[in-house]
Symmetry: C2
Subunit: 467 residues, 2 copies
């Protein structure tokens, strides 16, 4: 196989100016998916993606959905026998820019700025999440096609428009048209590097289940003078139940909660330690000083490889200013559990429900409303050839080994790609924790943008040599 | 002393029709104190009281305040040496009638209705609370004055207009002009009978202190995936603290909470038992089946003579529909403790604050905001001559002994009268628990109205014979 890589990398270096111009172009379209008044802008952004992919040489088009259209594109060499078929995933929609008054400049008028520590950055809504991120692979395709005439293996691109609004058009599309995009490997560019100088591959993500618990005591709100003492207070019942969910060591007390979770291997633990995570700095940034999770686990382990049971909301009685001497009829809480491999979402929900029902006082009725849309955790094999190839490519580009990372959160689409369509997945992104995604003045480091595109060129090259 | 009582009672019986007409008159004025658009109606009601009191023969007038005016009136015999000076207290303001669509007829167009068990009732906002109630003593004054020419001792009447809106005009008036209305005894007509056939004297009321507790963990709301596990969740810290406030027997665990509370005397316990309180019916009416308070105490004891620590509100994190995977920065709760005699409000607040602060995790900051306006409980001596006189009068009128009742709630003005102005107080009212005060279709039994006025005539007679 001809070694096109050096020329591809040179082409990327030579086209920084037009690449940045293209990124600015798409950043100017306000594709706020959650706000119906930006419907046309979302379509315009999808069309921009289609046109750009066609210009590069892809067979690209829109797939209509009940929501915003999905960009699907295919390309590949005339002969791809024995080569993998690789999916690249991104999303073109962005979060609303509010609060607008905290933006230094208009969120949809991208600009360059220099930030201490980060150097040059692009500032705009979507600069990182995820227009900057998907542009890294678009630019690498462009350079490959210009230099080599074709990509070294079949590539399918999916760029959806509802990642930020939690809509289900893509899931529905996958359920109905999954075969069109089922590949051997999905490359998902929506995650972060380890730090601005160190690339990362995210090998695990926690799953999630959630529920709302509503306790009803008295059949109406009561006067706390007239009834207080003899009448059951559902807030008291609720806090008693919630407080019982964790023991003094921060462990979840629900029977069976930890069943099936494999012990952390010495190798993985060593690997996590070797990352040199600065827990004190991480916590200090959010105003805290000590890891609040399970005793016996490091902060990074608590974040990536241990499950949680978290209270996301609690409500009951009088919420306004001042005093109201009420015993409320109801009190409720919203809970989510972050799951790790080995935990079965349904079994966790069942155990949680049983535990909570078992602790309600007799005069309290309980509604346990499980959320739709839970999904299990996943962890990919750090020894897989795909990981090895990507790690090698990233190390060559960045001059230091890629961190084998975990993530505490979830990219739901991974569950679909992996568990429903059976694709191996690699999560490689060039975002940074300080990029203010979802917040005012979102930025993307130019290093991430340029070296990200170069990284994809190298990853494509390495994957092509695998088989 | 001439025995005017039989003639006074006959005068009351003979004037039922005009008395009811007068009650209807004042019920027609919508004196909703909390709503500024009813300011003129409130003043018109106050003026109705002044005119009525003048018509009866009182020296009556308005005392202006920052809020609604206070009605103050004086009367008494030319020679009152050796006689008590007695205050009668009522309020002319009413609760808003909302929700209006649940009223069978217009709330300010009083009507007579017949209710199973209650017989004839007046239906209107304020019918019981408290225009019906204060009309009972106005009618008894009218009859006394007509028959005897004068009342047998000096009487001062205070009818305020801000009882239902928690405003402080009367407290301010007492602080500045307390001497004008300081009497030997205050008769407060704003409470209930034991049941529709049994009169009651309320001898104790619980006090109250309250606070809001605000816990702050992280310096901002966090993503529960990105931070969950390592980051302290203030809802978790809060429910842990709140759950620790009661033990398994329903006792408050705050050290010193029960200090100073005298053991319930065998006599008082027997007295309470003799009332034959139907706890099952009381609880069943609010959808409950068992007393939720301290083990070892009856429901009535839990309601009247034992203190509570009650959660009136709890708030934290996401309150809306659906799921938000947030670890909130803050969580808070509103608490009030109902106090009994022996408990010092400030000491209870201090102990509560110390307890709560002592249970907060290190990374959690706590704001403890004590409410203004706490006040201690009070209990009057069941053996006092005033109680004995009133009890005798009530028994003569109703043909059965007056129940010596307690109350779980509070009438704040009693604390001012008793503790600031040093007056003995007697709480005697003719309300009933089923009268729907503060609710649609409020009613007042005609028996309460007519026999209430007769009861006051008898009480005045008995008090006049005391000295």
């Amino acid at each position: 196989m001809t070694d096109y890589l050096p020329a591809v990398l040179k082409a990327l270096d030579d086209s920084r100016e037009p690449a940045l111009k293209r990124l600015f172009e798409v950043l100017r379209i306000p594709s706020i998916s959650t706000d119906p008044s930006y419907k046309d802008s979302c379509r315009a952004t999808a069309e921009w993606c289609v046109n750009t992919l066609r210009e590069i040489g892809f067979d690209a088009g829109l797939r209509e959905s009940v929501g915003h259209p999905i960009v699907v594109a295919h390309d590949g060499p005339r002969s791809a026998a024995g080569k993998p078929h690789v999916l690249f995933y991104g999303h073109y929609d962005v979060q609303p820019p509010d609060p607008l008054d905290l933006w230094v400049s208009s969120p949809f008028e991208p600009r360059l700025a220099v930030e201490p520590g980060n150097g040059e950055v692009v500032v705009a809504r979507g600069a990182e999440d995820s227009k900057g991120q998907f542009s890294t692979f678009l630019e690498s395709f462009r350079a490959w096609k210009r230099v080599a005439g074709e990509l070294p293996f079949r590539v399918t691109v999916v760029i959806e428009g509802e990642e930020e609004c939690g809509a289900h058009s893509l899931s529905r599309f996958l359920a109905e048209h999954g075969e069109e995009i089922t590949c051997d490997l999905a490359l998902i560019c929506d995650t972060v590097q380890w730090d601005k100088d160190t690339p990362g591959i995210t090998l695990s993500m926690r799953g999630i289940v959630g529920a709302e618990v509503v306790l009803t005591g008295p059949n109406r709100d009561l006067h706390s003078g007239q009834f207080g003492g003899a009448a059951l207070n559902p807030i008291r019942a609720l806090v008693h139940i919630l407080a019982g969910l964790h023991d003094g060591d921060g462990r979840v007390t629900v029977p069976g909660f930890y069943d099936g979770i494999p012990t952390l291997s010495t190798e993985r633990r060593r690997q996590l330690e070797s990352l040199g995570f600065d827990a004190a700095a991480f916590l200090s940034d959010i105003g805290l000083s000590r890891p609040a999770g399970e005793k016996g686990y490091s902060a990074l382990e608590q974040l990536w490889v241990r499950p949680t049971c978290e209270f996301n909301g609690v409500t009951g009685g009088y919420q306004g200013v001042g005093v109201k001497t009420v015993i409320p009829s109801k009190a409720s809480a919203k809970l989510t559990c972050r799951l790790v491999p080995g935990q079965d979402p349904q079994q966790i929900l069942d155990s949680l429900e049983k535990f909570i029902r078992g602790r309600a006082p007799k005069d309290c009725s309980i509604e346990f409303r499980a959320d739709d849309g839970g999904y299990p955790a996943f962890a990919f094999d750090p020894e897989s050839p795909h990981v090895a190839a990507a790690a090698k490519a990233l190390e060559e580009e960045w001059g230091r080994p890629a961190a084998l990372m975990g993530a505490g959160g979830s990219v739901p689409i991974v569950a679909s790609f992996n568990q429903k369509l059976g694709m191996d997945c690699l999560l490689i992104g060039f975002g940074l924790d300080d990029s203010r995604i979802h917040s005012p003045n979102e930025k993307y480091n130019l290093t991430s943008f340029y070296k990200g595109a170069r990284s994809w060129a190298r990853i494509i090259d390495h994957l092509a040599r695998l088989s």
